[in-house]
């Protein structure tokens, strides 16, 4: 049996983590592939965390934050947007397909968006060849 792809989710405390909670309290269901790491703001997500995740074996990474204009810290999500746009271009050059990194705006009320995003990403990742990152040493 092929190993299930693991997806690391960096979720901001105020919107997306709350949306993940809402998906739970609403008893929505989605595949078990995600592992959530809570940060206060999507702006906290250092691109190096994402590279690290891929290096460690993540098939995909989702950075989830508040919608533009809704950031609890005014503009952290814009910072995340810039960093991830830049990082995605870099990852493609390294042979990491763009489908493997998603930036999603999920507000606290969008519990229903969680299953949609997870389902979609799991399906997409299963279509990709396995990610083999060369680790030096």
């Amino acid at each position: 049996m092929a190993e299930e792809p693991k997806i690391v989710v960096f979720a901001c405390n105020w919107c997306s983590y709350a949306a993940l909670d809402l998906a739970g309290t609403s008893r929505m269901t989605y595949p078990t592939n995600i592992r959530v790491i809570r940060v206060m703001c999507s702006g906290r997500v250092d691109p190096q965390f994402i590279i690290k995740a891929f290096k460690e074996g993540a098939s995909g990474v989702i950075v989830a934050g508040c919608h533009p204009g809704d950031c609890h810290y005014m503009e952290g999500n814009y910072k995340a947007l810039r960093r991830i746009t830049f990082l995605r271009r870099m990852l493609e050059n390294l042979g990491i397909e763009k489908e493997r990194l998603r930036l999603e705006w999920i507000s606290a009320s969008e519990g229903a968006k969680v299953p949609k995003v997870v389902q979609e990403m799991v399906e997409e990742l299963k279509k990709l060849p396995p990610l083999k990152l060369k680790v030096e040493g």
Partner: protein, 647 residues
């Protein structure tokens, strides 16, 4: 050198909420194999007193210096377990929570094995982070003993009044030119001999005579900085163009050539560009509608006291407050053109318009006449805009429309005994202690109740209105000719809410109302500390319920602002001074201006103002040398979580 971590892992069953899906015993056995884990246990309800006691006892007996609790969302019980950790004699920030309920058992009910594996992964990640946790001291900040109440409807008035009575200074800010909100436009209220405006006046009189309350009408919140205990609110006072010298002589209105629909009468009548919203409006000063005024200056010529100044630019003030109460109310649902014939006949009106028509001071002086005659037959269509009765309708029940309609129906029956009355409803919800009596009385008086599943069809004809409806109870198709149709519309979130949300950064529910910190336990608080909710800003409420929530919000706010200082979460950014090169990358990243570059002994380095830092961590993500670190979310702590996700 810090001591070796000794981690205790506590896995909660949450009854069967977790244990019904995740094999809790297996997770506990697995946790015992993780590095530095000294003890791992499970319990039915970890948040219960015995559950917490178990943790406390272990901390002491096993000399634990880290605690991991695998249970529900930290948004629910992080404070609980932090407190327990503290009571056990540990620093509360040496506790890490794992969410295996909302993020695991509840969303994977059919995949027990995979959910158990996921729970193990999550516990491993938390242990990895917990090993690296550091004790943090809470940051203490001074509290401003003032409150900002946004919205001058019943909820806001009640909240302002309660706070002022407790001795707090209150800034009461209302967007409209008058206090009173929606309630002031209602006619005679249910279970009361008061009209809406009279009820509001009772509150307004108390508010205006309280020296602790500063009232700003025609004003809005345009900026909010700071945090719990110390907000800086920017309030823009829009130009009114008429000052206190106004003696309400009304000459200006006579000469004003601009006529526009009167929103205070739900467009049933006209008003001028210079106007007083209604006779009892407060403050009793005319106001000029900037958008509609043509600047013809005729009003200035007739104003004897010289109260009008068309050059009025308004002003802006900054208020330092310890808390904010959002009480901006609701906007009545507006049916779309053609929804049950709305907008195609003057005799298809909304419940709010009916309130105005039945009000003795309304546009018809309380008369309900069509071509000078009382209507022969009238129908009320209930749940308009609620209970998904149309594509634009809300899912929720608006709580007040059934009772208000029945109250109006009894009033109409009294005034016009010969008028036949029909009520077409999806669900009749006269909940509460007194409300059902209204339904019984209406039935006794011969009002015909027709229950529908498919919304009725309304056909506006030249000589009246025809309703077609399938009666669910008698299983018959009915055709009902009437002269007038009242659409019992419900409540939408306030149309001002989006703007207020973008300034205050509070979240909303899928229905568009502001989300409470906890639906049952913290209904008047928001997840943002220091921001409270009163009235219909968080969902439909009747007047009684709005007043209650106004008082509740005031009580919660008073708990905060009556303290001299407040503890702020210490998860702020700090600089490792030896590493910092003083490049200033972080300075540009900080949205709060909390970071500055200082010169210390000839070396440039970043410095964080702990009071201004809100703990987002965006500076830490940008720092090229890793000198900027966010407490509790340090690079190596997050990286440890990432690594532990896979091994």
């Amino acid at each position: 050198m810090s001591e070796e971590p000794r981690v205790g892992v506590y896995v909660c069953h949450c009854g069967l909420n977790i244990a019904g899906v995740v094999d809790v015993k297996q997770v506990v056995e697995y946790a015992k194999t993780l590095p530095n884990v000294v003890v791992a246990k499970d319990y039915t309800f970890m948040c219960s007193a015995p559950g917490q006691q178990m943790i406390k006892d272990d901390v002491k007996a096993q000399k634990l210096n880290r605690v991991v609790v695998a249970a529900c969302s930290p948004s629910l019980h992080e404070p609980t377990f932090r407190r327990a950790t503290k009571e056990a004699g540990l620093n509360p920030y040496l506790m890490e929570m794992v969410n295996i309920r909302e993020h695991c058992s509840w969303v994977h009910p059919q995949e027990k094995d995979a959910a158990t594996e996921k729970a193990k992964d999550l516990v491993r990640m938390a242990v990895a982070k917990a090993r690296l946790l550091e004790p943090l001291d809470t940051i203490v900040s001074k509290v401003e003993p003032c409150a900002l109440v946004l919205g001058g409807g019943v909820a806001g008035l009640e909240a302002a009044l309660d706070l002022a009575k407790r001795g707090a200074e209150v800034y009461l800010v209302e967007k409209a030119p008058t206090l009173g909100g929606n309630a002031a436009r209602l006619g005679k209220l249910a279970f009361s001999n008061m009209r809406g405006v009279e009820l509001v006046k009772t509150l307004v009189d108390a508010v205006k005579s309280n020296p602790k309350i500063r009232i700003f009408t025609n004003a809005e919140l345009v900026g909010l900085d700071g945090s719990v205990g110390n907000f800086k609110a920017k309030i823009k006072i829009n130009p009114r163009f008429v000052n206190e010298k106004c003696n309400l002589c009304g000459k200006c209105v006579e000469v004003c050539p601009v006529e526009v629909p009167n929103e205070y009468e739900f467009n049933l009548s006209k008003r001028k560009a210079i106007y007083l919203p209604y006779a009892e409006a407060y403050p009793p000063i005319y106001v000029i509608d900037t958008e509609k005024c043509t600047k013809c200056r005729k009003c200035i010529e007739v104003c004897k006291p010289g109260a009008i100044n068309l050059e009025d630019k308004g002003s802006e003030i900054e208020a330092r407050v310890g808390c904010v109460i959002l009480a901006i109310g609701y906007t009545p649902y507006e049916p779309y053109k053609g929804e049950y014939g709305y907008g195609t006949s003057p005799n298809v009106i909304t419940l709010f318009q009916l309130e105005r028509l039945l009000d003795p001071t309304g546009p018809t002086k309380g008369q309900l006449l069509i071509d000078g005659k009382a209507p022969n037959a009238m129908a009320f269509i209930m749940c308009v805009g609620s209970l998904t009765t149309s594509p634009t309708a809300n899912v929720y029940c608006s709580r007040m429309c059934c009772t208000t309609s029945l109250k109006d129906i009894l009033e109409i029956k009294e005034q016009y005994p010969d008028t036949a009355l029909f009520v077409l409803y999806k669900h009749m919800r006269t909940y509460g202690r007194l409300e059902e009596r209204l339904y019984e009385k209406a039935s006794e008086k011969g009002v015909v109740f027709v229950r529908f599943e498919e919304p009725p069809k309304v056909k506006v004809k030249r000589d009246g209105i025809e309703l077609k409806v399938y009666d669910l109870l008698t299983q018959e198709n009915l055709e009902i000719p009437v002269d007038m149709v009242v659409l019992a519309v419900g409540m939408n979130p306030s149309k001002e809410l989006e703007k207020v949300r973008s300034i205050t950064k509070v979240g909303c529910t899928p229905d568009g109302f502001v989300r409470e910190a906890h639906l049952k336990l913290r209904p008047v608080e928001t997840p943002s500390d220091g921001i409270f909710l009163a009235g219909t800003v968080s969902g439909p409420r009747n007047i009684t319920e709005s007043v209650i929530s106004g008082s509740a919000a005031a009580a919660k706010a008073a708990v905060l602002i009556s303290k001299e200082q407040v503890e702020v979460e210490p998860i702020i950014a700090r600089v490792i001074e030896d590493v910092c090169s003083g490049c200033g990358t972080c300075v540009a990243q900080c949205p709060f201006g909390a970071i500055s570059i200082k010169e210390v002994e000839g070396k440039r380095q970043a410095s964080v103002d702990a009071m201004l830092c809100k703990g987002c961590g965006t500076c830490a993500a940008a720092c090229p040398s890793g000198a900027m670190q966010q407490a509790n979310f340090k690079d190596h702590q997050i990286v440890a979580q990432v690594e532990a996700c896979f091994r």
